[in-house]
């Protein structure tokens, strides 16, 4: 899909993140850069650091797996559904976004 047509990037992204946060059941959003360091988060510090470190590894592993099988392929997103909630990870070249949601809440 083509990128959306509103061109103040910063505001646009902020707005999108706000909308996500306001959706039903969303517990937190974390933006992590390519080195695994959290850039922005709506959770507390300790959880943020924990999530970002662990999920970074998971994403790297998943991506490496996919690309080993077919180098032209790439990971679009990863959803980990657990008993209590769902962690959605959308990786990008330089950043990835983690959203934790409890869909039944």
């Amino acid at each position: 899909m083509k990128p959306p047509a509103v061109f103040d990037f910063q505001a646009e992204v902020e707005e999108t993140l706000k909308r996500i946060q306001s959706q039903k059941g969303v517990q937190g959003i974390i933006i992590v850069n390519s080195e695994g360091i959290p850039v922005k988060s709506t959770l507390d510090n300790q959880s943020t650091v924990q999530y970002s470190a662990l999920i970074h590894q998971l994403v790297m592993k998943a991506r490496s797996t996919l690309r080993d099988i077919d180098p032209q392929n790439d990971l679009t997103f990863l959803r980990v559904r657990s008993k209590k909630n769902e962690i959605m990870i959308a990786p990008d070249k330089d950043y990835f976004l983690i959203v934790i949601q409890n869909p039944s809440a």
Binding site: M1, S64, Q72
Partner: protein, 688 residues
């Protein structure tokens, strides 16, 4: 001192003997003395003094002390050898007394001249006595080595020794004479050694080179990435060679990048955020998504032939709440994307408009948002180039938006000078590219013109296709002249297969069949309705059938060769819009102002619809309806700026059943056949 004293004692040997006898008659030790004690010496002196009687420096000893026995031992120890040598032991880390002291004293050494005849030396010397012919090579070399070192000894050969440059001559001369034996004993080698330069070690140490540990992995995809990047670089270089960059462009690009550097991170996150937003929404609206995909209303089997509509997502945008949905269009390429044009039908209240694009994947927020000054009344997405959108406005302008461009403004807009309409534009439709491969579209407006617009480079060029002028009835006025009345066009549709054929619906309720080639005459006129014709649409499959609807509560189906409608349906309320289904030639749907959606299937029921359902809340009117090209859903727009999506139940999607043993013809052919059968049924009674 002691030795001197001892020597004095030596000089007087007799005295010694006498002394010892005198001292001790019983024991004669004969201790002589190299290690005379002071005591004994003093005793001798004492004796002396006995003879002399007067000596001042004599030790006074008592009788008992005089009689004391002093033991003297004679041994072969070297008196000069140290008695208490101490050496530092590195092993035990302290000074240890050396117990074994060497007592060997060399009194005399003399070097002798005699050689044992069997010893090596003697043998070597004897070789020199041999005749010249048998002189072995080594000795010659030795000779050589030795001759220059004996300049003093051999005065006779001094000339030759200096002659080192001609070794052969010297050697030959050597041979004639007897081989000289170097004197081993008093042979003194006079060697001169130049002063050796003291060797100094000079080293310098550089700083250790900085080290970093580098590690990498070689995976399939890393290799692929590397190649890909290289390819991209090559492409870039090629492109740079081909295109000459415009300075202006560069400046703009730079400007943008300046803005971006602050927001770079967020810009990149933007793309990802969009995806995540969709995921999150999918989660919250999971049941709707499931319904959309899988739900099939089982109760349809019991409902005879009627069907229902299942509401799915509703699409809203807050800023558009006060506007009505005036146009809907699905995107052909991305079938989950649709465009919504918003404006107002109310003449008095024109508040600007919006163009929104929604995706089924994200019902909370539009994908693209464009704000316009004037209300939008119609829009059309190009069937092949799905990023081009043509829009008609209330103020008579038309514009083309390019979704790929990152601007909020249309790429083309008609102005008064380029021939914009003077009245609201009610319908736009894309056409095939013209002969110059320029894109073009047509528009119809209340000013009675059907205009074709061509996208030439940077502007829109217009050309009238036809003027909807009708020769009116002769007036009752005095002149008796005929008036040409301009009909106001309200809808437009082009034939799916025949390019030049199109239909125009007017405000007077007439439908004109026109051709692009005839600009002044209509091919046919149909007296369709008593009120403005809101929509005309050709059937997707059958080439002859079209449908029209109007605010006079009627929906009519026509065969364009016949002047009267094939079917007429009265829906009991003013109709907003009507639309054929893309999967069947006999199914169509209509929306009315009383919030109902009506679905008809002519092959099932020719007189009544198979579904009439209220889909929106009270006090909202439905304005438009569109079928999705592939999914079994319809979208319905209302006057509150909301678009509701509904799923069609199975009864509404019936396809013709094949009789046993008969081959099923292809989709479109079957549809055409179906329609033909219908029409033939209709016509037979007519013929009769």
């Amino acid at each position: 001192m002691a030795s001197r004293r001892m020597s004095t004692i030596h000089k007087l040997p007799g005295q010694k003997l006498s002394r010892s006898i005198k001292d001790d008659d019983d024991a004669w030790d004969g201790t002589d003395g190299l290690d005379d004690s002071f005591h004994s010496k003093s005793a001798a002196d004492h004796h002396h003094h006995h003879h002399c009687h007067h000596h001042h420096h004599q030790l006074d000893l008592s009788e008992a002390e005089l009689k004391e026995e002093v033991t003297r031992v004679l041994n072969a120890n070297n008196p000069h050898a140290p008695k208490n040598l101490v050496r530092y032991s590195f092993k035990e880390r302290f000074y240890k007394p050396v117990t074994a002291v060497d007592h060997l004293a060399v009194h005399f050494a003399l070097d002798g001249n005699l050689l044992h005849k069997d010893s090596d030396e003697a043998r070597r010397l004897s070789i020199f006595q041999l005749p010249t012919g048998l002189v072995p090579v080594e000795t010659k070399v030795e000779d050589h080595a030795e001759t220059p070192t004996t300049p003093v000894e051999d005065g006779a050969e001094s000339e030759e020794t200096g002659d080192e440059d001609k070794p052969h001559r010297t050697s030959s001369k050597r041979r004639k004479r007897e081989a000289k034996i170097t004197n081993q004993f008093n042979f003194s080698e006079r060697a001169g050694q130049t002063r050796n330069n003291p060797s100094r070690e000079r080293s310098c140490q550089t700083e250790p080179p900085p080290r970093i540990t580098f590690s990498g992995t070689a995976n399939q995809w890393e290799i692929y990435d590397a190649y890909f990047q290289k390819l991209q670089k090559q492409d870039k270089i090629e492109k740079k060679k081909k295109t000459t960059p415009e300075k202006k462009e560069n400046f703009e690009v730079r400007k943008k990048s300046l803005l971006d550097t602050g927001n770079e991170e967020f810009a990149k996150v933007g793309r990802v955020a969009v995806i995540v937003e969709r995921i999150v929404i999918q989660n919250t609206m999971d049941d709707i998504a499931q319904d959309f995909k899988y739900f099939e209303d089982a109760s349809d089997e019991f409902r005879d032939q009627e069907g229902t509509l299942l509401p799915l997502w509703t699409f809203q945008y807050e800023k558009a709440r006060h506007l009505s949905v005036t146009a809907l269009c699905w995107n052909n390429k991305y079938q989950d994307l649709f465009a919504v044009g918003l404006g107002s039908y109310d003449f008095g209240k024109q508040e600007g408009g919006m163009l929104l694009f929604f995706s089924l994947k994200n019902s909370a927020f539009p994908e693209y948002i464009y704000s316009t000054a004037s209300g939008i009344l119609c829009l059309d997405i190009h069937p092949q180039l799905s990023y081009l959108v043509a829009v008609g406005f209330y103020d008579g302008c038309v514009a083309v938006y390019n979704l790929k461009e990152e601007t909020v403004h249309p790429v083309y807009k008609s102005t008064a000078s380029t021939g914009k309409h003077t009245d609201p534009v009610w319908q736009v439709r894309w056409q095939n590219d013209d002969m110059d491969n320029n894109h073009m579209f047509c528009s119809v407006s209340s000013d009675g013109r059907v205009v074709a617009w061509t996208l030439v480079k940077n502007e829109l060029m217009s050309s009238d296709i036809i003027r909807l002028s009708v020769k009116g009835a002769p007036s009752d006025g005095s002149d008796g002249s005929q008036l040409t009345v301009i009909s106001r066009g309200t809808s437009l549709d082009f034939h799916k297969q025949i390019d030049y054929l199109f239909l125009v619906g007017t405000e007077e309720g007439k439908i004109y069949k026109c051709s692009k080639t005839y600009s002044s005459q209509f091919l046919e006129t149909y007296d369709a309705h008593r009120m403005p014709v809101d929509t005309v649409k050709w059937n997707h499959f059958h080439p002859k059938i079209f449908i029209s609807c109007s605010s006079d509560w009627n929906v009519k189906i026509w065969d364009h060769t016949v002047n009267t409608p094939m079917f007429t349906f009265d829906l009991g309320a003013p109709i907003g819009d009507v639309c054929w289904a893309p999967y069947s030639s006999t199914i169509f749907a209509a929306v009315t102002i009383d919030r109902k959606v009506h679905v008809f299937d002519l092959s099932i029921n020719k007189f009544e619809g198979i579904c009439h359902q209220i889909v929106v809340a009270k006090k909202t009117r439905l304005t438009h309806i569109e079928f999705n090209p592939i999914h079994p859903i319809i979208i319905v727009g209302d006057d509150r700026g909301t678009v509701t999506s509904l799923k069609l139940s199975p009864n509404l999607r019936k396809k013709p059943k094949s009789k046993k043993g008969q081959e099923l013809p292809k989709g479109s052919e079957a549809e055409v056949l179906k329609m033909d059968r219908l029409l033939s049924l209709l016509r037979e009674p007519e013929l009769d």
